[in-house]
Amino acid sequence: MKKHSVPLGLLVLMAAVHFALFIVRPDKAREVMSTAGNYFLEMIAILPPILVLVGLFDAWVPRRVIEAAMGKGSGVKGALFAILAGTAGMGPLYAGFPLAKSLLGKGASLTNMTIFICAWASIKIPMILFEIKFLGGAFAGVRLALTLPCIIAIGVLLNRILNRRTPHETKCA
């Protein structure tokens, strides 16, 4: 992520497209602006405290704790720990990335880190409650029961695939 040139180029391109849209379809251009604006406000509202919490986690939780709980030899216990940590997650998936990165840096295995991300994405407790309310207990329950083994499978498979060659690439800074 050191190279900012690609996203920066894309941003310029988007600004140009957006500007053109203002001339051709001002209504759509305004819609794009208000939607993006809303998401921007949402990001501003949640990113700073999340990053501060991740920073504190980084500074205070010792490496050996994470290594013991979610490291290479942690086995089933490590996977369960990763799932529990993920379900306790709050906020959207991109908010979980910095914490997952920090877990990896502190010695969590790639499998468990992936399980953590997937659990955060799909079976956070606040989200499950919402799902039960709107889609019903049976729907939410069956989806949860099917998702759990799939998450573990994704973690194991991803680790196999990425470690076949250039395993260090996954740990890029």
């Binding site: 949640i46 920073g55 998936l93 990335f97 799902e131 695939i161 690439e169 996954t170």
Partner: protein, 160 residues
């Protein structure tokens, strides 16, 4: 929102506690937070701008028509596709999916939509790649997509 208030409260309480216990460590924590923000900023901006474009040109009615009542097995494929590209918060997506379900949409299609929506993120993939590398982002999303389809079809069998 309550969730946001809890986050800010927890971060503030954590910082105060941290500074009282160890000033150096706390400053390091803040430095790490700032560095993360700097490395994410451009991609975050790019992501939300893309969301603005996509939602403006892909109205909910289009999604509704594609995976709504009577869309059948083709609905599963379309639902998984939409679920992978759009980025909607759960508090909008679940009520929407619930209304489709009550209107007679297939359980498979709704399950495919909800599961890909939460697990697969094409829009957030560049951000994910920034953190964990391109291959990780690619394969995590590909595997999640495949398993989301499996989950959706299995749900159709169990609940359909």
């Amino acid at each position: 929102m309550l969730f946001t208030a809890i986050l800010w409260g927890a971060a503030a309480a954590g910082l105060v506690f941290s500074f009282l216990k160890n000033k150096d460590k706390s400053q390091r924590a803040l430095g790490a937070a700032r560095k993360m923000l700097e490395s994410m900023a451009w991609l975050v901006l790019l992501t939300i701008w893309s969301i603005g474009f996509i939602l403006a040109f892909l109205p909910p009615e289009a999604v509704s028509r594609a995976i709504g009542p009577g869309s059948g097995i083709k609905g599963v494929a379309v639902a998984a596709f939409f679920g992978s590209i759009v980025l909607i918060q759960a508090f909008i997506a679940f009520p929407l999916a619930g209304s489709f379900l009550r209107q007679g949409a297939g359980v498979e299609a709704i399950a495919a939509f909800v599961t890909t929506l939460v697990m697969v993120g094409i829009l957030t993939a560049p951000l994910e790649a920034g953190f964990f590398g391109k291959r990780f982002a690619l394969w995590r999303n590909v595997l999640s997509f495949i398993f989301a389809i499996v989950i959706a079809l299995a749900m159709g069998v169990v609940l359909g």
